[in-house]
Symmetry: C2
Subunit: 521 residues, 2 copies
């Protein structure tokens, strides 16, 4: 493919991409293909001779498009969004063109230096405590995903504790044995609603894992008291808690742990590395109305959020901020002879490879730079606020029908969770009498209150959820927390609009009424 | 940025990218910027209001271009290449547009299914043993980098051994304690010339690490005997070797470990996971003349190579093949409630998140699909063979001047390593008398043979190397192995041509003569 063929192919691709975005709302959000659909459509092996681009290009429509789930559709309300933008795509284009495995400064100074600068821009934009800016001992790095970030933090935490405890031991076999013994007793902690990445990181790091209770009665948040209790329980068993993931916006309900309380507790446990995972909700910190959440971060060790979720930077792009970069370098820095260079040895440059698991790195800062400049701080705040407001709108529709819906957690960061109420035929006017579950969530709930009701509500909610997804107009997700099966609706997708939330509400009502009228209760 | 603004911006970007590729050979390969160059050129924080694309776009030339190291320049002969291609870039464009965090099948069936298919295409193209195709118990996955792959394998190996040894123990605290104790004794192995990623993976996994000697006398390769010796030494100390990285193309010299011998040994140590890291040289397996290296792979557990190095797929793209995918699933599969779905539970689909460390994944298979189809198998073989031939050409120039150069390892996969000979003024006609070091490398070398010569050769080679890089026309790397400082020249960059290798040879001769004539010996 020569330059002029590339120009032609790229122009067609750009037009196709634009056309895709213009029509994505009209496509069924979920594909209707069955597992294994693709293999019969493609040859069994790579071609011996090259093919013209036209043949390849036309296959995108023929074989790929039918198998896509459309994450940019306004009818995609599942998981958390993975929002895309045109400036983000331009960033990817240039990054792909300047193609480099830029693992240290000299491998492409612009890659390193732009990253440091845009991470400082982000720290300021989110009003993170100054300790997370590069001017002091901290700084930011772009990693791929929050899972990668959490693993990076867990392992750095584990080794930091070993360095501290064994500071007086000389290098050698005895120290290695002692460190191994310590690792065997170490336990990573996370909210029971923390993302599974903390548990996965503990598996990879070879440590134990314990979850900290975060019940409904605490709005699914970890309190300082609960964390302290778990820490002390571990210590009583001879285990060594070394790490805790605090959550700012949990996956199930967008719960925020008691950051201020946990910050106060942190002083009592200086050897526990506290990381704040704000993968989704962290983007909201661009708005001053959320920045009251930030001061406690000064008491923690690290923080991350994914710009690829809610800040318009194409996947992947997770921003990881660290208070003392030395905590990463001390664990991850290995300098074999073939990576030595005068710049690194001068100590004047950042070699981000020592802040992360992989060696090579892409030029992801271009995406952030393009997005921050194209939208400006104001544009990003508007983007977030629009979604927050849409969440409240959806929430208000749910509460307008307390006969059918019980809000489990009210709209938070554009996520509302709810379950369907079973039919309660004995009450003539359900609207006048809050159903028991609804009351339960808004007041003090005791698990024994209404087990039969709970079972029926779980059953019917699951049924409605499955019918909505099977119909194919919308894609929602559901989850289970504290024995409650509930549905999640996210109003933060790129093209989210009131009309789509109104429509999904109608579909939910329709299926709920159908299932309830068919129900055997 | 609306559709039409995006079209305009993207068309400009395409033209700039084409212009960049057309002129990359004429640019100084290394930037001349000093550390910290970028900060004064940019504002201290993100703009409040959005900026027009023209303002952003013009900054690429103003601030980014001067800080780039040009990996696509034919004068880039450092490290290993990171080759780019137009079809690879088109793959990135579509992947960015279909933007998704496709962590399981239903998140975008095409992402999963195309990946399985192109990985099977690759397995066939490289003539990997059939156990690495998806039709049986194995299969392939695209990960970001070889470092990520090696870590994935190390942790899976660690946990597989624990599952095997503790198969009879019931779940519970005793088993957790016993597993922790086992981990503390486990040791990962790699060639002393294996990439540092194995050592880094061992740190992350919290295990010990030992390197297996691979001396000059064995051409820097690990022999089965050396591996067996290291394993037995570990066992004698009460340690448990559980993993070994065999190298197919080491970073320093492109050495290939004795794969056939190690395959025979593998039967004696079924609990040691053997991974073959072919990050760079693996691409050469598209050529039948290298495929004699493949049959031993059937005795190993996993294999990887980076298409982003030498097979024209833009960074990042590392192909990881595994013999029994269950070995990954058993370690990495965690299914929280919010990720449950009928497709996953049916067992009919692949959820690649359970084969890797992160959760989300990009649509990287598009890049591979586009590259394999655009070049065809023949085109890729020609691409590789051209570079291999250029390596031999450069090698022949070096051997034509035995007075100045000693080849340390002859051209292998486009990499030649050599050192500069010190001036030997006592000999009137150096061409007639092979210098002692040269003789040493081609015959049996004893470390004590000529320590003084060695010291002088190291010193002068380092000096010449630094002068070449400082001049800025070419970018080379150097390394140290077995006490020898040597220079690496890689002839496998995208636009490599005879004229550039001829020119770098001239520059080397020129600096070598200068340094030697100034020398104090």
């Amino acid at each position: 493919m020569d330059s002029s063929q590339f120009r032609e192919a790229a122009h067609i691709a750009i037009d196709e991409i634009i056309q895709y975005y213009d029509t994505v709302a009209d496509r069924p959000v979920l594909p209707s293909v069955a597992p294994g659909y693709l293999r019969p459509l493609l040859p069994p092996s790579a071609p011996e001779e090259g093919e013209p681009w036209t043949a390849i290009q036309s296959d995108i429509d023929r074989v790929i498009m039918p198998g896509l789930t459309h994450w940019q559709s306004p009818k995609f309300m599942a998981f958390f969004p993975c929002n895309s933008s045109f400036p983000g795509m331009l960033g990817e284009m240039y990054s792909g063109a300047f193609n480099a495995a830029a693992f240290n400064w000299i491998c492409s100074p612009a890659v390193t230096e732009l990253e440091t600068i845009v991470m400082d821009w982000l720290a300021k934009l989110l009003k993170l405590p100054e300790c997370y800016e590069s001017k002091g001992e901290g700084g930011g790095i772009i990693q791929g995903t929050a899972s990668e970030v959490v693993l990076t933090a867990v392992v750095a935490a584990r080794e930091r504790l070993i360095r501290r405890r064994l500071a007086d031991m000389p290098e050698g076999e005895d120290r290695i044995d002692k460190a191994a013994e310590m690792r065997g007793k170490m336990v990573a902690l996370g909210s029971e609603h923390a993302h599974s990445s903390t548990q996965k990181a503990a598996i990879i790091a070879g440590t134990r894992y314990r979850s900290v209770p975060a019940p409904r009665s605490e709005n699914f948040s970890v309190t300082a008291a609960a964390l302290r209790r778990t820490i002390e329980e571990c210590k009583a068993k001879g285990l060594e808690p070394f790490y805790f993931t605090a959550t700012l916006g949990s996956t199930a309900t967008c719960a925020v742990d008691d950051l201020a309380g946990i910050a106060a507790l942190a002083a009592d446990y200086p050897d526990i590395w506290i990381h704040v995972d704000a993968a989704y909700a962290g983007s909201a910190l661009v708005c001053p109305e959320y920045q009251h959440l930030c001061p406690p971060l000064a008491s923690f060790d690290s923080f991350n959020f994914n710009l690829h979720k809610w800040l318009l930077v194409n996947f992947d792009c997770s921003a990881f901020f660290i208070k003392r970069r030395k905590d990463l370098l001390d664990t991850y820095s290995i300098v074999p002879a073939y990576l030595r260079n005068n710049f690194t040895e001068s100590g004047l440059v950042t070699d981000y490879r020592d802040w992360q698991i992989p060696l090579g790195r892409r030029f992801r800062s271009l995406k952030i730079w393009f997005v921050l400049r194209t939208y400006g701080a104001q544009g990003l705040r508007e983007f977030i606020r629009r979604h927050v407001k849409l969440g409240e709108y959806f929430n208000s529709m749910l509460t307008s029908r307390p006969d059918i819906f019980t809000v489990v957690t009210p709209a938070a960061f554009g996520l509302t969770t709810f379950h369907i109420n079973p039919r309660t035929p004995k009450v003539s006017s359900p609207a006048n009498r809050p159903d028991p579950a609804h009351e339960a969530y808004t007041n003090d709930f005791t698990p024994s209150a209404d087990a039969q009701f709970r079972e029926a509500a779980n059953q019917i909610s699951k049924e409605v959820y499955e019918k909505v997804n099977a119909q194919g107009e919308f894609f929602l997700t559901s989850t289970v927390a504290d024995g409650v099966y509930f549905i999640r609706v996210v109003s933060a997708t790129l093209n989210a609009e009131e009309k789509y939330l109104k429509r999904v509400f109608e579909v939910l009502v329709q299926f709920a009424e159908k299932v309830r009228s068919e129900g055997s209760e």
